[in-house]
């Protein structure tokens, strides 16, 4: 299969012949894919196509799933993500993740954002306060919560909780942020805020987003990848994928003929 137009800029993440298995089930087949630096790359495809598995492979969140196994190569800045010398804990500090359902911790708003610093052993309370404020501002949540930082994170709305989770991920200053359907549990207004936020963040972070929502992919991303049955069908600039895809299966999917 012919790969689409080469991506511009530095490649932050690159996979070569990447396959993944859950026990005997193969979830990903021979994926050759790159995530360019400081761009937004969207992954679309029908349920079960492997896009989430792929995303979760990039910060080794699948390591916790019994029976998970990978083959091939996945590189972060040219270094093997699955290399023997790589400590997954340190990897995840560089490659953060936001999940489908907002999952704030059972702590105050402040402590939710501070948690990533605390586990790294940051002791200075002024430094922690500064970073918490900076992260909440970056996640466009500061004005809404600055008077209730000691309040429970569960008192926030779903959209606010998700932005809190983004702030929490930003606080540890990752290089890459993986978003696993971050707006699928949110209402349209909260979704729009998350999408705006992604645009603000892409100057500083490399973002990879899995989404079920093709309009969302078209709106927010620079590059789009289409997955089907565990294979990467096509990847390219978002405008091209949505207007003039090379593969007829991509066209069938984005025009709503299946999926």
């Amino acid at each position: 299969m012919e790969q689409s137009a080469p991506m511009s800029g530095n490649l932050k993440i690159e996979t070569k012949g990447f396959s993944a298995f859950y026990g005997k089930t193969q979830a990903l087949r021979n994926v050759n894919f790159s995530v360019p630096e400081k761009k937004i790359t969207a992954m679309i495809g029908p349920s079960g196509c492997g896009k989430s598995t792929f995303l979760r492979s990039l910060n080794r969140m699948n390591d916790f799933i019994p029976g998970f196994r990978m083959e091939g190569s996945a590189l972060l800045d040219g270094e093997e993500i699955y290399g023997a010398a790589v400590n997954p804990v340190l990897l995840r500090q560089r490659v953060g993740m936001v999940f489908q359902k907002p999952n704030p911790f059972q702590m105050s708003i402040f402590e939710n954002v501070a948690y990533g610093l605390r586990i790294q052993g940051v002791k200075s309370s002024s430094l922690v306060s500064d970073i918490v404020e900076k992260s909440l501002r970056a996640a466009a949540l500061w004005d809404e919560v600055k008077d209730r930082l000691k309040g429970s994170a569960f008192a926030l709305s779903g959209g606010q909780q998700q932005r809190l989770c983004i702030a929490r991920a930003l606080a540890v200053e990752p290089e890459v942020i993986l978003l696993d359907e971050p707006a699928s549990a949110l209402d349209p207004i909260s979704t729009a805020r998350i999408e705006e936020l992604m645009q603000d963040l892409k100057d500083r972070y490399t973002i990879a987003i899995v989404t079920h929502n093709m309009q969302q992919a078209a709106r927010v991303s620079d590059y789009t990848a289409f997955f089907l049955d565990g294979t990467l069908v096509e990847v390219g600039e978002t405008t091209k994928i949505f207007t003039n895809p090379d593969d007829s299966r991509t066209e069938d999917y984005i025009t709503g003929r299946f999926g």
Binding site: M61, L91, R92, N103, F105, I119, S152, F154, V172
Partner: protein, 300 residues
């Protein structure tokens, strides 16, 4: 062709009757479930009220046969000593084992550990008692030769508690949502940090309930005490060796009710009421504590 029609709106007689019958069965089941508690309190109070007074719980037994005068302070103090000893052994071991089973849940060793722990749950307490006797108490053959003593009984009860605490701890941790754990792992937390900062705080109510279940179980154990401690009407000099036995409420009730004395039977029932009230207070205490720990809890 006949016109397809929905049945008339409203409940059929059959469904109405079924509702009434099932509703009644539910109500009846509830009554049968709560009646024993009320019955225990009523019977113990009615049969023991003559002996109830503040001094009954603040004085040691005296007179002849011993207990005919005085109260049950020996039993209350002894039961507390046994709970503390049993908990000192079982809480760290049981919680640690529960954490291990949760963290390593898919490994073969965890599977074997879980199986053995569940088997221990089913061992009758009289067997724990006789094994405790040979290991801790007897003065012949091999063993620790501690005699009938508080330490022998406390440790035996502790071993009975371990599988209870293990099981409930693991279950409480499993109830912590997976997404919650992943949130912390994705920030670069180690498994230990996730356990300490998120999993345990989220499961602490369940773990506390498990410990309480174990304590309540131990409070009511009589058979193991027959073989490892028996009973003491006075104050033990130590927890090991001769005169190392402690008093114990369950044994006290058991012994008093076997004496041919109406006054001791009354005291046995009064002691039963005290034991029941201690159990209820402990239960309410842990519930209050768990409410207090829910400051940041999830809604709903």
């Amino acid at each position: 062709m006949a016109e397809a029609r929905l049945p008339e709106k409203g409940l059929s007689y059959y469904r109405q009757i079924r509702n009434i019958v099932l509703g009644s069965i539910t109500g009846l089941a509830f009554l049968v479930a709560v009646t024993p508690l009320l019955a225990i309190i009523y019977v113990a109070y009615d049969r023991g009220k003559e002996a109830l007074s503040l001094s009954f719980v603040t004085t040691m037994p005296s007179g002849f046969p011993v207990g005919i005068e005085g109260g049950i302070l020996n039993g209350i103090a002894g039961s507390l000593i046994l709970i503390v000893l049993a908990s000192l052994l079982s809480v760290p071991v049981g919680v640690w084992a529960g954490l291990y089973l949760w963290d390593q849940s898919h490994t073969r060793l965890a599977g074997v550990t879980r199986l053995l722990s569940d088997l221990l749950l089913g061992v009758p307490s009289v067997i724990w008692g006789v094994v405790g006797f040979y290991v801790f108490s007897t003065n012949t053959g091999w063993g620790l030769h501690w005699g009938f003593s508080g330490l022998a009984a406390g440790l035996t009860l502790g071993f009975i508690m371990i599988p209870i605490v293990t099981r409930v701890t693991e279950q409480a941790l499993r109830d912590v949502p997976r997404s919650y754990i992943e949130g912390a792992l994705a920030l670069g937390a180690t498994r230990f940090q996730v356990m300490r900062d998120l999993a345990i705080p989220a499961a602490i109510t369940g773990i506390g309930t498990g410990i309480l279940l174990g304590v309540l179980n131990v409070l009511g154990q009589t058979a193991p005490l027959v073989f490892t401690n028996y009973y003491n009407t006075g104050i033990p000099h130590s927890l090991v060796g001769s005169n190392g036995s402690v008093g114990d409420l369950a044994m006290q009730i058991f012994i008093y009710i076997h004496e041919p004395s109406k006054a001791l039977h009354v005291k046995a029932m009064a002691a039963a009421l005290v034991l029941t009230v201690i159990v209820l207070l402990l239960d309410m205490g842990i519930r209050l504590l768990s409410w207090g720990s829910r400051k940041y809890a999830r809604k709903g």
